[in-house]
């Protein structure tokens, strides 16, 4: 190829986009195109999301009555366990990284694919195999340990399919590790000329920080589950105190993974929102470098706060103090991010398309959830509310309110790029608002129930908590509708939606410079980068009064 062709100056022969480049089922199942693998993941996690959602729907129905009315305690325990296991490992952990991350990372850094395309496909097959184990555990009779697999209950007492479920989580961990390695290598090796580290979009930084956690923390999850299996299946005394084991050891290992895992779920969400808010406010992101350092700080400090899950477990009081202090410290970078998103709106030209509504919803829910985290970092308050609905509400605000809102924000923002189609905007706005309302209706009452002393994982509960459970269950119905709506209108848009241009939102970023949907190798010419991201206006001024389309005309070529 000549330089002029590489520079995009010569017309190119017509070529099919990645969706039409091969249409057999086999062309999908054997694809190494990161964009197609992203679609495979999207379909997979959507199925898991509705499986996990179905389980919790039954749970919320059951909780209408204080003494149950539909099912036995055993069924109830199996349903909430299935919900947790599926939602954490088969939806939330892979949600943004493996769909949007897979699709966008190479596009955003100007690369033709990820560093290891076949490893990428392999990790999807691992996810499917792991999902088969876990769904088998349910079909065969269920597992009742909760998603936390606490010993010695899981290793010596539970009579359910712990092995299959733990094996499923064990295997899906390897999918996580493979994805993490792949993304780290991609970010290091495949950045286009001129794409320096501090010109990376924040979404890339978020995916990079997430990948670091995946690679460093997930092996510990594998170890702890392997030890559960060793004790349960082979009778090796590891956690059994009567034979010299220690049940608390499991909690240290488990939370050493599972607290950082919370950041696996929320960092990518922060990345998505950091792309969307500047675009719809027509502003550079406020404090780009602080946003980067904040994400790296979260990824780093996140490894040293696991003990705040164990204030009542009998760990040493000194350990509790240290973990309490670090838990307050890790709230600082999160606070910085919230302030910076807010400041990015200042003197903007803000419009409220559906991605922006979802993104603002994320900021609201993340702020609420993050503030409730301060209560849990304070030892005396945590002792009272840990293992109650307060904690349930807290982590749902972060991981479901926050991350799922951001996932939908990203879906709506990049949908035209991924599919080449426009979705019905008014339906999308309606769903965004309904999701925010439904979420708060579901989980706000749980803060009250938890503070008043309703323990989590209770099938039956004291009658005075019924009012909160009824409110929560009613809210869940609204939330369920809000989650189902996009399934319908986005599917509709695939067939009847109008064609989307290259850059429908006038956004900056390399992914918007290629066609929608992109060609198989992403770019028809070699992208070159000569400026910082979020170049929505000149340095030092706020968004001008010119229409944003004009300011941004240089971006859309």
């Amino acid at each position: 190829m000549t330089d002029s062709l590489l520079a995009g100056e010569l017309p190119l022969p017509p070529r099919p986009d990645y969706l039409r480049h091969g249409s057999t089922v086999w062309s999908w199942l054997s694809t190494t195109d990161h964009k197609r693998i992203a679609i495979l993941y999207a379909v997979t996690i959507t199925i898991f999301f509705f499986l996990g959602g179905a389980a919790i729907t039954a749970v919320r129905l059951e909780l209408f009555q204080p003494n149950g009315w539909l099912m036995t305690s055993d069924s109830y325990n199996k349903l909430f366990s299935f919900h947790g296991i599926i939602m954490v490992w088969f939806f939330l952990v892979p949600s943004i990284p493996n769909t949007l991350g897979n699709f966008l990372l190479p596009l955003m850094i100007g690369a033709p694919d990820v560093a290891f395309p076949r490893l990428n496909l392999f990790s999807w097959y691992l996810t499917i195999a792991a999902g088969a184990f876990t769904v088998y555990a349910l079909v065969a009779g269920g597992v009742d340990t909760g998603w936390t697999f606490y010993t010695p209950y899981s290793s010596m007492f539970s009579n359910t399919h712990v092995f299959a479920a733990a094996a499923g989580v064990f295997v899906v961990g390897f999918a996580s590790i493979a994805t993490g390695v792949n993304f780290i290598a991609t970010t290091h090796m495949l950045r286009a000329p001129g794409m320096t580290w501090f010109r990376l979009p924040l979404f890339v930084w978020a995916i990079y920080a997430t990948s670091l956690i995946m690679v460093l923390a997930t092996p510990v999850l594998a170890i702890s589950l392997l030890l559960v299996i060793a004790e349960r299946v082979f009778g090796l005394p590891i956690f059994d105190p009567a034979r010299g084991g220690d049940p608390i050891l499991f909690q240290h290992l488990f939370w050493f993974y599972s607290h950082p895992a919370v950041y696996i779920m929320v960092l990518p969400a922060m990345g998505v929102v950091s792309e969307i808010i500047p675009c719809f406010a027509r502003r550079r992101i406020f404090g780009y470098d602080f946003m980067v350092y904040a994400m790296l700080a979260i990824a780093g400090i996140g490894f040293f706060v696991w003990g705040h899950h164990m204030f009542v477990s009998g760990q040493s009081p000194l350990a509790s103090l240290v973990f309490s202090f670090l838990s307050f410290i890790i709230a600082v970078p999160s606070a910085i991010k919230v302030f910076n998103w807010t400041a990015s709106l200042y003197r903007g030209q803000i419009s409220f398309e559906s991605p922006m509504l979802y993104a603002l919803g994320f900021v609201g829910l993340f702020t609420t959830g993050g503030l409730s985290g301060l209560f849990l970092a304070s030892i005396p308050v945590d002792v009272h509310v840990t293992d109650t609905y307060f904690v349930v509400a807290h982590f749902h605000y972060i991981m479901v309110g926050g991350s799922v809102s951001a996932f939908f924000a990203g879906m709506h923002f990049w949908w035209p790029k991924v599919t080449g189609r426009r979705y019905p905007e008014s339906w999308a706005k309606f769903a965004a608002i309904l999701m925010y309302a439904g979420f708060n209706m579901t989980f706000l009452p749980q803060f009250f129930a938890g503070y008043l002393g309703m323990p989590r994982r209770y099938h039956t509960y004291p009658a005075e908590f019924q009012i909160y459970n009824v409110m929560s269950s009613a809210g869940a119905a609204v939330l369920a509708i809000a989650y189902l709506l996009p399934l319908f209108y986005l599917t509709w848009s695939l067939f009847y939606g109008g064609k989307a241009g290259r850059n429908p939102f006038g956004a900056t970023g390399l992914e918007w410079t290629t066609s929608s949907p992109p060609p198989p190798k992403n770019f028809d010419w070699q992208p070159r980068i000569d400026r910082a991201p979020y170049d929505y206006h000149a340095e030092g001024i706020s968004a001008g009064t010119d229409p944003p389309e004009m300011q941004n005309a240089k971006e859309t070529q």
Binding site: S73, P317, Q349, L374, S378, H384, L452, T460, E464, I541
Partner: protein, 313 residues
């Protein structure tokens, strides 16, 4: 019982916890108002096409501003940590003369035993205005002793003793819950804590069916399990004497020194080879599987009673 929005503060500790809770609530409320307020304000004022001023950004919105709010956040959190932790530290250890009550948890019930031997299932009677120290162990999986009205919670773990203390400040009946998921009937593992005037508590205790107190029960076990064959003063076997042992420092054969507390006694009964006392042969057999948690508590109580008064042998 609980009213809708109000959980009784039935212990001295509850007041402390609620103070921290309310401060956090006020601070969170202020932050929510600030963040949501600013977002709303900017969203309206800087909506696309509005006539609000844009132009160059004001000078003060620079790096110093960013560092400023970072430091402000950091200092606020450091203060919160200091306040919450000092409350935690001051409530760590039970007062020395607290009333000791033993708690054994198992799937799915709470068994409590008072110093005079009175036993209860899924219930606990305690006197008002007197520190109560619960010594807890579990016979199977991890449970968690949770009394919301007292704002206390502590996991009860198999294979180790955990403890918790509170001083009730209101009479009445308050829920006792299991807060750590423990299997099928986890949610049914509930009981009640009845706080009584001290006189009523004393009367209640005497009305309970005659049961040996823990130390007497332990004394019987001491003979029936064969402990006395070696550890009694009259024995010919060279074994450590137990009188006055409790709470003392013990020199071990490997050079370590440990304090003879509940955990040490428990370990020495179940795993006698682990901490061998200096000057003695490791000849004691393990009683693992022969004694349940309640029996170990009784034996420990007996050995402790040997320390409190000179043995009458």
């Amino acid at each position: 019982m609980n009213s809708l929005f109000n959980l009784p503060e039935a212990s001295t500790h509850a007041v402390t916890v609620d103070h921290i809770f309310y401060l956090l609530l006020a601070l969170s409320g202020a932050t929510v108002v600030l963040v949501f307020g600013l977002i709303l304000l900017f969203a309206v004022r800087y909506r696309r096409g509005s006539k609000a001023k844009r132009g160059p950004m004001p000078e003060f919105l620079g790096r110093e501003f960013e560092i400023g709010w970072t430091l402000a956040t950091l200092l606020t959190f450091a203060f919160l940590f200091w306040w919450a932790s000092s409350a935690d530290l001051s409530s760590l250890a039970a007062p020395p003369h607290a009333l000791e009550i033993h708690v054994v948890s198992k799937q799915w019930m709470w068994k409590t035993q008072h110093a005079n031997g009175a036993r209860e299932i899924n219930a606990l009677h305690v006197p008002l205005h007197e520190p109560v120290h619960l010594l807890m162990s579990s016979q199977d999986v991890i449970h968690s002793f949770y009394a919301p009205a007292f704002r206390v919670k502590q996991d009860v773990v198999p294979g180790r003793d955990t403890d918790i203390w509170f001083e009730a400040s209101k009479t009445g009946t308050f829920p006792l819950l299991c807060a750590e998921y423990c299997g099928t009937n986890h949610s049914a593992m509930r009981g009640e804590i009845v706080v009584m005037q001290p006189e009523d508590y004393a009367k209640w205790l005497t009305r309970q069916p005659e049961g040996d107190d823990l130390a007497h029960e332990g004394a019987k076990l001491f003979v029936s399990q064969g402990c006395s064959g070696c550890h009694a003063t009259s024995s010919n076997v060279h074994a450590p004497r137990l009188a006055g042992l409790y709470g003392r420092a013990v020199q071990l054969a490997d050079g370590r020194t440990v304090t003879a507390d509940d955990a040490y006694l428990r370990d020495s009964i179940l795993q006698p080879k682990r901490d061998v006392v200096a000057g003695f042969e490791p000849i004691m057999p393990s009683f693992k599987g022969l004694l349940d948690d309640g029996e170990i508590q009784s034996l420990t109580a007996y050995i402790r009673s040997l320390g409190e008064e000179p043995p009458n042998d």
